[in-house]
């Protein structure tokens, strides 16, 4: 049993190790087979575990890690309803994206490095989801952060890529600061960091302590999952190769925060305030990111902001207490968002640019890409029948029961989502070709993963009730009941809004053929509310300039000067006394003799 779970985690780890150490001896084809195969093994193992262990919670011990006094952490793996679903999703999507990458990155000279990092990422992510305690989760948490850093900066010659990677890691570290303090606080309070222990004892914690711990952990979640106030790294992260954006920055890593909050839901629930914060941060992020996405012209940036926005929904779902709804959106989103990214990658691969203003009319040249992209867009827009509809609808319904304001913001954001997604489709696939010359459909190695994901983007939404049942054994899974007519009305409003938004997008971008380009709002949005600039002015510049000033005026000017001053003092003192050093032996002998006489005199004073 534990062998199977170990296999899930270790197969990609082995892959990464082999590629790093022996990669240079492997041929191209060998790498192309080997790397996806290790993840495939991992996926198969997850699938077997999924069918055999089902959702029975159990912990599999591997080996001890750190133990000092009463602090004790083992390397072990936790299989339970939550981690089983995550493991399956992560390994599955990762497998598909590995295959796609063979087509996308095959020509890149750094492909060995690329696949090594991708394998390492899969390993870390699986470690994260299968971790039974907070420190282990933190290992995976930082591991995925590392891989994200490495893959964003994959083309390290480009300063923008190197900058983006560094920014991602550092912003995440700010979140990790909170995460770590949360871990320390929980250990101080409980003396044990196992999830099961924390959850079972959460009710006994004092409210303020629980609030503090939950909010500190949530700071970590906002870093990893790109929520306010730490979302700024994700759009820049699009500097990485597109399959990376699909895997790490859409489907798996960025949803780790939602997973963490779901994992420790009883702790968050102990403090009502913490849950409230989670819900509101989620919905505000969703709305904010959606508005920015409206005006982006870079195809990947639009998708990046939509990712931020969708993760906001997930947090809202969990925050209003509907863990299964939030997790279900995570589940469906993994498929349709990675699909959208892969399709966008296919477009970028074909036309060689990411700027939608230079695309247009690709529908005929790339029919498969077009169709799968449309499916993804319909799914994310919440059109009935597609996966996103079910999950988003569930979240909105639960939000409505919690607070009408939450619901209103959520529904409007859903409309915005539909608008910018179809703006993207109309700008990219419809209209006249603008700029590109030789577009072509992608090879099967890229098309087939997209088709599989397209299928999943449709059908994965139909299983909400079994998903809900699957999670039930966790003990904190429940949904508020909503009157049937009310539910239909809410559904109608959101679907109507989405359809209207699609029509509006059609009218603006295909009929009138030009977007809104002027006005204060437009400037504000294209500049992303100036958040980067504000952070720069608030944190980066004061730190840098302050450190420079201290270095110049204090470190060198005060401390060093004091030290050198004392040195000079000695030197001057020596110079003063140097007249004694005549260099004549007799003078020295005289001094010595005088010394002896004095010493004798002192010693014999009593006798004389």
């Amino acid at each position: 049993m534990s062998f199977l779970l170990a296999l899930i985690v270790l197969a990609p780890a082995l892959g990464a190790l082999v590629l790093i150490l022996l990669g240079r001896f492997l041929g191209k084809r060998a790498v192309f087979w080997f790397s996806p195969a290790t993840v495939g093994i991992s996926f198969l193992a997850s699938l077997i575990a999924f069918t055999t262990f089902k959702n029975h919670p159990s912990v599999f011990y591997l080996f001890p890690w750190i133990s000092v006094g009463k602090f004790h952490v083992d390397f072990s793996l936790l299989w339970d309803p939550l981690s089983s679903i995550m493991a399956l999703t992560v390994s599955g999507v990762s497998f598909l994206i590995h295959i796609y990458s063979v087509g996308y990155m095959g020509e890149d000279p750094g492909f060995r490095r690329y696949f090594a990092y991708l394998n390492l990422f899969t390993f870390s992510m699986l470690l994260l989801v299968l971790a039974p305690n907070l420190p282990m989760m933190f290992v995976g948490w930082e591991g995925v952060g590392l891989c994200s850093y490495l893959l964003i900066g994959f083309w390290f010659d480009r300063d923008t890529a190197a900058d983006a990677g560094k920014k991602a890691f550092i912003v995440n570290r700010v979140g990790d600061f909170g995460f770590l303090l949360g871990i320390f606080l929980l250990f101080t309070l409980l003396g044990n960091l196992d999830f099961q222990y924390i959850n079972s004892r959460a009710a006994s914690l004092p409210t303020t302590a629980a609030t503090a711990a939950a909010l500190l952990l949530f700071l970590g979640a906002t870093g990893k999952s790109a929520q306010i106030p730490l979302y700024i790294w994700l759009p820049d992260a699009m500097e990485g190769p597109t399959p990376v954006s699909a895997l790490i920055h859409a489907a798996t890593m960025v949803t780790a925060g939602v997973y963490m909050v779901s994992r420790l839901f009883p702790l968050f629930a102990r403090s009502g305030l913490a849950l409230e914060v989670v819900a509101w941060v989620g919905i505000i992020t969703a709305a904010l990111a959606a508005t920015i996405a409206l005006v982006q012209n870079d195809i990947k940036k639009v998708l990046a902001y939509s990712t931020i926005s969708q993760i906001g929904y997930m947090f809202t779902g969990v925050g209003v207490g509907a863990v299964s709804a939030g997790m279900f959106h995570l589940f469906t989103h993994a498929f349709f968002k990675s699909l959208l990214f892969l399709a966008a990658g296919s477009v970028i691969h074909a036309v060689g640019t990411q700027d939608m203003r230079e695309m247009g009319g690709l529908r005929r040249k790339m029919p498969i890409t077009f169709w799968v992209f449309t499916i993804g867009a319909l799914a994310i827009s919440g059109i009935p029948g597609f996966a996103g509809f079910f999950s988003k609808d569930q979240i909105l319904a639960q939000a409505y029961l919690h607070s009408k304001t939450l619901w209103t913001v959520g529904v409007i954001t859903a409309g915005l989502t539909a608008f910018y997604m179809f703006r993207l489709i109309f700008m990219t696939f419809y209209g006249e070709p603008r700029g590109w010359k030789h577009a072509h459909e992608s090879p099967p190695v890229m098309a087939i993963p997209m088709e599989i994901l397209a299928l999943l983007s449709v059908i994965s939404g139909w299983f909400f009730s079994s998903f809900h049942q699957w999670l039930k054994p966790l003990g904190y899974i429940h949904l508020e009941e909503l009157a049937h007519e009310r539910e239909l009305i809410l559904m109608g409003v959101s679907v109507g809004l989405a359809l209207a938004a699609i029509v509006l997008a059609w009218w603006i971008y295909l009929k009138r053929k030009r977007g809104l380009r002027t006005g204060f709002l437009y400037t504000l949005l294209t500049n992303k509310y100036y958040v980067d600039e504000i952070y720069e002015a608030l944190f980066v510049v004061p730190y840098r300039e302050g450190a420079r000033a201290v270095s110049r005026y204090f470190d060198a000017g005060v401390i060093d000067r004091a030290v050198l001053g004392s040195g000079k003092l000695t030197l001057e003192g020596g110079r003063l006394l140097s007249f004694l050093q005549t260099g004549l032996l007799k003078d020295y002998a005289l001094w010595m003799a005088a010394g002896i006489v004095i010493a004798l005199f002192v010693a014999l004073r009593g006798l004389l």
């Binding site: 930082e142 850093y149 390290f156 300063d159 190197a162």
Partner: protein, 498 residues
């Protein structure tokens, strides 16, 4: 055995005196052989060490100069791991100098061997007198290493180095005289000194004298300004040993001497010491951030990292204390590795100015990969060694003092900021100088130097218990002595002089 190990390098150095200076290859490999032998010795001790016995093991005593001042060496768990660290870094530092040092090679290798004996001696000495002798003896080869094989401003750096350290040691010497006068049998044996009860006023003065010597060595803010200069000017091997081992002596001095000998005074000064440790963490990180010279940057990062070590040791919770000791080892390895790599870069590019570097991952992918791993070890990425130490320190500190721990944990963010910036400026972006595109990547010797370190990064990160268990008992004992858990220490006196 212990004595054989610590004096083996001196014996090697004496033999080297008789080797003609033209036979440089023989000199190099002989020195490497000697210090490797020391490493195997230390491995023997490591494997035969009984982790359940907290007192010094492998003890050796001999009558010496009278006045109660005897030769007395041995190792408890804390000494043991530091000895192993020293014995590991010395051969690596030697091997890294094979091409770096081009003049007076024989003298250079002799100096390193002498330094090795001094460093080992500090960790194994069991009485204060012997401790002081090794402490001072170690300065002399270091002085020559920086002064003779250093960079352009080496004289300035050496003078500063000596000025700082001598001030500290001399005050400590005065303190040692006091203790000698008051200790039973004048033996200065550590565990006998712990049972002394020293009057309050004297304790304060003595603690200040000892603490100053050790704070300079650590270095704690504001006694740190010798470090960047010494590091920048020292040859690679000097920097490696300086950062890897010499700085540990400050922390070791605090936990072995300053804190347990003068517990009341320590308690009195604790708030100030904590403040200095926390300031060191943040201040060192901020200063590292604005450096243009890669070596200076790493030097300031040492200030920051050792702040973490000292925070852990000062706070005296089991986890933070153990974490502090563990972090000493980690810092020795990862900062040693950083200096080795920067040395290798310097041999190729002849500059450490990061404004002139950039994009070097293109011509030097292997070196870049090693630098990347080392940087992440230093940042404290889980799975690598740095994390375990930092995590334990912060976890333990948080149990005792939430404010200090929270402020110190800011170092988690700041270390990523300056180290990743350094990596980016050296390795990423465009190559600024066409010549750099043709640089040769690491050769086999250089890879072999780095491989043991990287293996240890992973090993210490993934299976820290293997190392923690070796010194847990000893650490607990030292901690409890410092906390004055034992009213009388007859127990220890029996283990003392005959």
């Amino acid at each position: 055995m212990t004595s054989v190990m610590i004096f083996l390098p001196v014996a090697g150095a004496i033999l080297l005196l008789f080797v003609p200076r033209e036979k440089t290859d023989f000199v190099k490999y002989f020195a490497l052989g000697v210090s490797s032998a020391v490493f195997f010795f230390s491995m023997w001790f490591f494997l035969n060490f009984n982790p359940y016995y907290p007192f010094p093991q492998f003890v050796e005593r001999a009558r010496w100069i009278g006045f109660g001042l005897n030769y007395h060496v041995g190792m408890d768990g804390i000494s043991l791991v530091l000895v192993v660290l020293t014995a590991l870094l010395s051969p690596l530092a030697l091997a890294s100098s094979f091409r770096y040092i081009k003049e007076r090679e024989k003298e250079f290798y002799i100096m390193i061997l002498l330094l090795e004996t001094g460093m080992l001696g500090v960790f194994v000495a069991q009485n204060l007198f012997l401790f002081y002798i090794f402490w001072e003896a170690m300065l002399i080869p270091m002085y020559f290493l920086i002064g003779m094989w250093g960079g352009e401003r080496r004289l300035y750096a050496t003078v500063k180095f000596v000025l700082y350290t001598m001030v500290g040691s001399l005050l400590m010497l005065v303190g040692i005289f006091y203790l000698w006068k008051h200790s039973p049998h004048h033996s200065l044996y550590f565990y006998q000194l712990y049972s002394l009860s020293i009057p309050w006023g004297s304790q304060i003065l003595l603690f200040l004298a000892f603490a100053l010597a050790f704070a300079i060595k650590v270095p704690l803010f504001p006694f740190h300004t010798w470090l960047p200069d010494a590091h920048t000017e020292a040859p690679t091997a000097g920097s490696v040993l300086l950062a890897g081992v010499l700085l540990k002596m400050g922390g070791y001095g605090f936990l072995r001497l300053a804190m347990p000998l003068f517990p009341q005074a320590f308690k009195f000064f604790l708030p100030y010491l904590l403040a200095l440790a926390v300031i060191s963490i943040i201040y060192g990180a901020a200063m590292a951030f604005v450096q243009e010279d890669a070596k200076r940057l790493v030097a300031y990062s040492s200030v920051s990292h050792l702040g973490v070590v000292m925070l852990g040791i000062f706070l005296l919770s089991l986890r933070s204390y153990m974490g502090g000791i563990y972090q000493m080892l980690n810092h020795g390895l990862s900062t040693g590795a950083l200096f080795l790599l920067i040395g290798m870069l310097y041999e190729r590019t002849h500059t450490r100015d990061m404004k002139k570097l950039g994009g070097l991952a293109r011509p030097l992918p292997v070196l870049a990969a090693f630098l990347m791993i080392t940087v992440f070890s230093s940042i404290g990425l889980p799975g690598l060694n740095g994390f375990v130490g930092e995590f334990l320190v912060f976890l333990g500190s948080f149990e005792v003092n939430k404010t200090a721990a929270a402020l110190a944990a800011l170092g988690v963010i700041l270390s990523a900021v300056y180290l990743l910036r350094m990596y980016q400026r050296v390795m990423q972006g465009r190559v600024k100088n066409e010549v750099f595109l043709k640089l040769p990547d690491m050769n086999l010797r250089e890879v072999l130097i780095m491989v043991p370190l990287v293996i240890l990064f992973l090993w210490m990160g993934l299976s820290p218990n293997f190392f923690l268990k070796k010194f847990e008992k000893s650490a607990r004992l030292m901690m409890e002595i410092t906390q004055q858990k034992y009213k009388t220490l007859y127990l220890f006196e029996n283990g003392g002089e005959r």
